[in-house]
Assembly symmetry: C2
Homo-oligomer: 232 residues x 2
Amino acid sequence: MPDSSFREIRDLALFSQMADENFSALMRGAYVQNFPAQIELITEGDPSDFLHVVLSGSVDLFSAWNDRETSLATVRPISTFILAATIKDALYLMSARTLEKSRIALIPSQDVRAVFDIDGNFARAIVTELAQCYRAVIKAQKDLKLRTSLERLANYLLRHQRRAGGAASFDLDFEKRRLASVLGMTAENLSRAFKGLQPYGLEVDGTRITITNQAEFERFAKPNPLIDDGST
Amino acid sequence: MPDSSFREIRDLALFSQMADENFSALMRGAYVQNFPAQIELITEGDPSDFLHVVLSGSVDLFSAWNDRETSLATVRPISTFILAATIKDALYLMSARTLEKSRIALIPSQDVRAVFDIDGNFARAIVTELAQCYRAVIKAQKDLKLRTSLERLANYLLRHQRRAGGAASFDLDFEKRRLASVLGMTAENLSRAFKGLQPYGLEVDGTRITITNQAEFERFAKPNPLIDDGST
DNA sequence: TCCCACGATTGACAATTGTCAAGCCAACAA
DNA sequence: TTGTTGGCTTGACAATTGTCAATCGTGGGA
């Protein structure tokens, strides 16, 4: 593995506090690979052989059942995914595919578990990471059960606006059909939802979004830190 | 705290491997309290002062937004809740209320965090618990996004049947309006969903459920270990 | 340049789900 | 017993969401 990738991973909160020798042990079995877009990296139901770290590009986590499919999350650099399956030595609950050309580090799960058993700092870092992930899913669950599709879209746009810097105009970061899946609706309905938000101060031109009336838009969306804040 | 409660908590996977002195330190600040039914134990948005352990009775975790409310999980003995908030020293994402008369142990969150920092075994046990919780929510998310309400009910009944021992007849363990909320639908719709399942081999008499045609019922429900298995 | 592919959009329609109001029924207290 | 309460059920209706088919528009390849 090249030194630069090594450095990037080491700087992740998950790995930054662990002992040097343990980090080295982890990296010995690890390797970095470049994947083209639309490659299925893991398949739900498979045993979790590797902890994955997205170094560049982006990865879609999704799941299928009975001919239906839904997108559960998007992983962007630099962060890991399927940590829980790795720790529990359990089957993947989700599949993962690259959304674009991506560079991904693969760390053998058994190494992660072995180091986890002997390095308290690593174990503590994993706790923090898992607690964060857990709370993120709970928020998603509340979003899904407490809001209509129109409200979910409105709050998604507000969250995305903040991530993008807070300006009134910003661009969507992925295609609408996947956004629809993330928000738990069909692409057709998303299209209508965008129109349904126009009376509350929204303009849409392709992937370009403009919130023309921030106050009115927020009055409709009713964003809530206990659902929409990413960090807490 | 009485010795018996002490013992019960010590036997939890979360606490069984930690050092004696650290467990004692945790228990020194802890106390056990009896609550009547329908008492709100914690409120979402409040700081997480205590890690809660349900020793007897049962607790409903729920959340509200914009005059809507939804039930996210039920906690039964012996297990903890709001572990993630405690660890992260963050605000509660959910409220909790007793469903019946319940005995609950309260362990100060700052003690948990302090011991977590010095006891590797405790930290590792927390990881396992959190990973388990995380995967449970992911499964709930898949259930919600991939299935119709009829399918969710059918699979819930199959899961409950297994928990109850596997017999064709069994009783629901809580009231239907709460079941409806857990399944993400209204009480009225749940009522219709029960009727809608009759053609697939279901009989309902009050809280008494009988699956008269197991094979046909499962053919409709299409249970999947990656959504419906509790342990993995 | 033209053509094709693909995602986005739209309309028409169906299915699902929620809302409201009324009625039913069992548990419980006076 | 009677009356009351609260949860459950039912019907009628409305709103939301999904499905299918057709169309639009853009960008890439021949």
